[in-house]
Symmetry: C2
């Protein structure tokens, strides 16, 4: 059946849907409306073009209007804003932004992939601020890059410590700009838990960024050359990047009476259909189901948009393919480090009242004896009763997102923590260890589940010390000189057996080491000798 | 119950078993017998120490006899060769290689982890060859390194293109030695299929290695300063590395009447128990079940040895944990490239008469517009009827083993090719693409299964051309100037629709492009217009 399919938005979701539609049917009429000048550009590359890491502007333009029209026989109309949807008569109203002309087009099926837009709250002085930018598309990018090229700013305030804020901090730094990064929460990169983000806090500071946490903007003064924070602190600046998050582009949908979620995302069923059976919606504009906790959420990332773009095309042709929810797998380069996450973190699980356990490990990126091995901090969240994997986080220099990808795969496949032990992953010294970090997370988590490893978390240490419990640091004497937990007693693991008669049998003995491994060995030793032993998860490194 | 557990072999499998045994029981008596001087050394690091990439010899010694004895309360006896097993009386005979003393020890349970030894065939002149080495342990390593340090050899012949041979070629090259690499088969790195290994052939040659394929050694002349090949070719050399494979150390087992497999591996059940209920065997010495095709095989790698070491300890304590077979996931650094595999390749499937399909893709390691993106060649083997994933191979510069790890995880989890589409993997421009290569393999393979992509393989091209079929190259004119398949007609994809009336409707039309993607688009276009279209899998790149 020859169909007339209209698509609103011509970038990640929209362009993917158009391409796939044409691969399913040569006859249908497919019209893509994009209000901007460009379709199919590399949103995710924009910060790096500003940082001049990506040199060629043209390389950001994955497909051009002309090239893609020809390749896929599409009617692509840029500078064309869709203004409203007439659901009754299955038509939309479009404004040609160049000519001002307004016209209508009829559809059999309509796909909405309008994306999201940067949040711009009504902060005092925001409208007067001259060099204040947000970053979403090519136009924003051209403006920021031109500003940097022409004005050679010395300083910038980046507001918001999410991944776009952090990428902008890094890329402006690349351009020689002194950056202050302001974040309202006590941490950057919200998908990480606090102790994981802390590693990045040190790293961005070491790279010359002035990191200001737990503080928000109160006012922009002097046309945005002074940023006043809620704490009263004032920062003089040559430019401002506002990157505090995005909100779904839902106006069209809302005006047309389509169902929206609590946070404004367009509601769709598992086939990506709105409450109007001829209108589908995809990408950043929609509410998705969190794959782990099954609650509605917003996850504005490129993988979901691309995936949904393909599925929606299939569903329009009756293939009935389900979108199975979003894990939120992500990765970001933060100066020389990499942070990557999948699934639910501890904060989320706590907030939702889901019973969970966590495990921290600090393995090397690859075999320690091969050059370049650097530690990675990994954290796994899981259900201690049935071993369901809830999520994982990694922060390190190399090999971080590789392990998160494996765990993301394991979650989607319904594997349990026990199964992580048995994943047979590629090993040679330059790449990994004979027991991959993922295997190790499996071992540690399974030991926790089976009760052969009892542990406390970094935030419970102070309380234990205050109570005066015996807390043994089993590292070598030399290691403790680099720092130790006040109130611990140092007995190296190799000597522990000689001291057993000094320990109480009736009270728990707490143990720590550098990363948790030797603490675990000490705990096994103590437990098997009739003591109650509890390990500090992640050891001194997670605590410090 | 206090047990007396004896372990033969103190490296990957043996040391791991000993450590885990102690974590399960503080009372048992555990004695480790190792005939060499060292236990728990980094076998896999040895080539790199010879290449001086790893600088510190001590870093190869993961655990020392003294340190490990103390930490785990073990009785570790090095220079101690186990000579025989008396199954009837549950005791073994040991020879102290320093004193010559022979004595016996009784066991409740015996673990064999004796490893494997390099194959040394009775080639003419082999015993007289002076600077001929094999590489398995610290002693071999010390000898080779000393030879290179002291004699500064100018040339070397490495015999065998398996991963140890290739690693030695690379590391001798690092030391300024001109290397000839001689391999009997038509390809190096047997876990790869031919067209995948070919990429490496070019690469090792570009790196100055004289690669000699399809030729074996006939004779060593002049005390090994001349290597005569079966082709008659003679190579003068300062040293020889023999790396043509390993055979299981099965003498003890054989003499004791334990069951062996066809290739000499010790037979064990899924709990790693031999046909004697008090004797277990693990590591390179055993026959394992191929995880994919369920046939017995030998896979001498570190992950299986380590995994089995832990499981055997658990099983001795009645935990009944199954070893689920070996996938053979592997990775090797080959100069600047990485080759990685998991599961069964095409050769194996063909040999076993298993019905399969393959898919080749050549995605970039990460987003093309972000600096440093380089193509990776991936190949997936799968069951075209039910979508079972049989295996995968990757050759490239970066991000290779990451995707193989994901696919290894998918195989272990029983995912089908269709499920690869839906894996939500970490994406940001420096790391991947919004559709990860693994997703892409899932899309391509599923299209093949569903019949929306029909293809031929690189080795079928010549036949098709000879038959005079229409074979269209849909690349841009410019691209074809870098090389093309003789007999193809160039019509760029964007112009294909204008030529439809020129094509035959009754005969299949063959299509190729650079890597297969545009060929697929052209095929969809042709098919949806009523033609029969067949794509060249992997495009010109796989063919060339
Ligand atoms: C700077 C930046 C960096 C990013 N980095 C990453 C990353 O590293 N990894 C990652 O996974 N994701 C990243 N993302 C997010 C990713 O780009 C988005 O998730 C993805 O683009 C969403 O696709 P979409 O189709 O929903 O929206 P978009 O790609 O934004 O496309 C929506 C299009 O619709 C158009 N439009 C909206 N309304 C109308 C209308 N009424 N009429 C006509 N056209 C309309 C808009 O102009 C826009 O071009 C990044 C985003 C940005 C901005
Ligand atoms: C150079 C090299 C590079 C490698 N690189 C990799 C790699 O990159 N990735 C990978 O996965 N694998 C690699 N491997 C393979 C890996 O090292 C082995 O699979 C693993 O060590 C096998 O463990 P095992 O315990 O079975 O044997 P081994 O680790 O070899 O230990 C067996 C020990 O038993 C001792 N022994 C044997 N018989 C007796 C006896 N009768 N009495 C007393 N002691 C005895 C031997 O002396 C030996 O030390 C490499 C191997 C080598 C040699
Ligand atoms: C460029 C864009 C239009 C591509 O859409 P697309 O055609 O669906 O995607 P690709 O070019 O990756 O091609 C994928 C198709 O080629 C097929 N394919 C890929 N490699 C192949 C190969 N070697 N052989 C055969 N087929 C192949 C896949 O099966 C898939 O086809 P299918 O969906 O019909 O199964 C769209 O992704 C886009 O606009 N991207 C830029 C915007 C964006 O994503 N921004 C966010 C990230 S920066
Ligand atoms: C060194 C060697 C003896 C280690 O054996 P091991 O103790 O089993 O292994 P590890 O040191 O990695 O420790 C793993 C244990 O620590 C635990 N662990 C690891 N990190 C932990 C952490 N942060 N917190 C708590 N526990 C942790 C694991 O759960 C596991 O214990 P389990 O098996 O009881 O569950 C052995 O692997 C060996 O000899 N290796 C060198 C030889 C070799 O492998 N060669 C081939 C490759 S080069
Ligand atoms: Ca690495
Ligand atoms: Ca990379």
């Amino acid at each position: 059946m020859k169909k007339r399919i209209l698509i609103v938005g011509g970038v990640a979701g929209g362009a993917t849907a158009a391409a796939r539609l044409r691969r399913l049917d040569e006859q249908s009429e497919i019209i893509v409306f994009e209000r901007g000048e460009y379709i199919s550009f590399a949103n995710c590359g924009l910060p790096y073009y500003i940082g001049d890491v990506i040199k060629e502007r043209s390389s950001l333009l994955v497909q051009t209007v002309e090239g893609m029209s020809k390749k896929f026989n599409l009617d692509i109309r840029n500078f064309s804003e869709v203004e409203s949807i007439d659901r009754q008569n299955k038509k939309i109203k479009i404004k040609n932004l160049k000519s001002g002309e307004v016209y209508e087009e009829k559809y059999d099926d309509l796909i909405l992939s309008p994306g999201a837009s940067p949040i711009k709250p009504p902060i005092k002085g925001i409208d007067e601020a001259k060099s204040l930018f947000t970053l979403r598309n090519m136009k924003d990018t051209d403006e920021i890059r031109a500003y940097v090229d022409e004005n050679l700013p010395k300083s910038a305030v980046v507001i918001g410590g999410g991944f776009i804020g952090v990428e902008m901090a890094e890329n402006l730094h690349e351009r020689g700009v002194k950056v202050s990064l302001v974040e309202m929460m006590d941490q950057i990169m919200a998908p990480l838990d606090f102790e994981m983000a802390s590693i990045l806090h040190n790293h961005v500071k070491e790279n010359g960024v002035d990191l200001i946490l737990k503080d928000g903007v109160a006012e922009f003064k002097n046309h945005g050359t002074k940023v006043v924070l809620q704490s009263g602190k004032e920062i003089d600046t040559d430019m401002i990047i506002l990157a505090i998050g995005v909100k779904p582009e839902n106006k069209l949908a809302k005006d047309a009476g389509l169902d929206l979620g609590d946070r404004g995302g367009i509601k769709v069923d598992e086939y990506l259909r709105t409450n109007d059976k001829n209108i589908y919606a995809i990408g950043d504009a929609i509410e998705v189901i969190d794959y782990v906790n099954k609650k509605p959420t917003m996850i504005p990332l490129a993988w979901p948009a691309n995936r949904q773009g393909r599925l929606v095309a299939d569903n329009i042709y009756g293939k009935n393919r389900k979108y199975n929810g979003t894990l939120g797998t992500s990765v970001a380069k933060v100066f020389h480090m990499t942070a990557s996450t999948t699934g639910n973190n501890e904060k989320t699980l706590k907030r939702l009242g889901i019973k969970y356990e966590v495990a921290h490990i600090h393995p090397k990126s690859h075999a320690g004896y091969y050059p370049g091995a650097l530690p990675i901090a990994f954290k796994l969240t899981f259900n201690p009763e049935d071993g369901t994997i809830y999520g994982a986080q990694g922060v390190g220099y190399d090999g971080v997102e590789k392990r998160i990808d494996v765990i993301a795969t394991a979650i989607k496949a319904g594997l349990k923590v026990e199964d992580l032990q048995d994943l047979e992953l590629a090993y040679a010294p330059p790449y990994s260890s004979a027991k991959d970090p993922v295997n190790m997370l499996g071992y540690v988590a399974t030991n926790i589940m089976e009760g052969s490893l009892k542990q406390i978390q970094w935030y419970e240490v102070d309380e234990v010390i205050e109570k005066g419990s015996l807390f043994i640091d089993v590292r070598e004497v030399l290691e403790t000189e680099m720092g130790y937990i006040e109130g611990t007693v140092n007995i190296p693991l190799g000597e522990l057996r000689e001291h057993l008669n000094e320990f109480p049998k009736d009270k728990p003995i707490y143990v720590t080491c550098q990363v948790g491994l030797r603490g675990y060995l000490a705990c096994r030793l103590l437990e098997l000798n009739g003591f109650k032993a509890i390990n500090l998860d992640g050891g001194y490194r997670t605590y410090a």
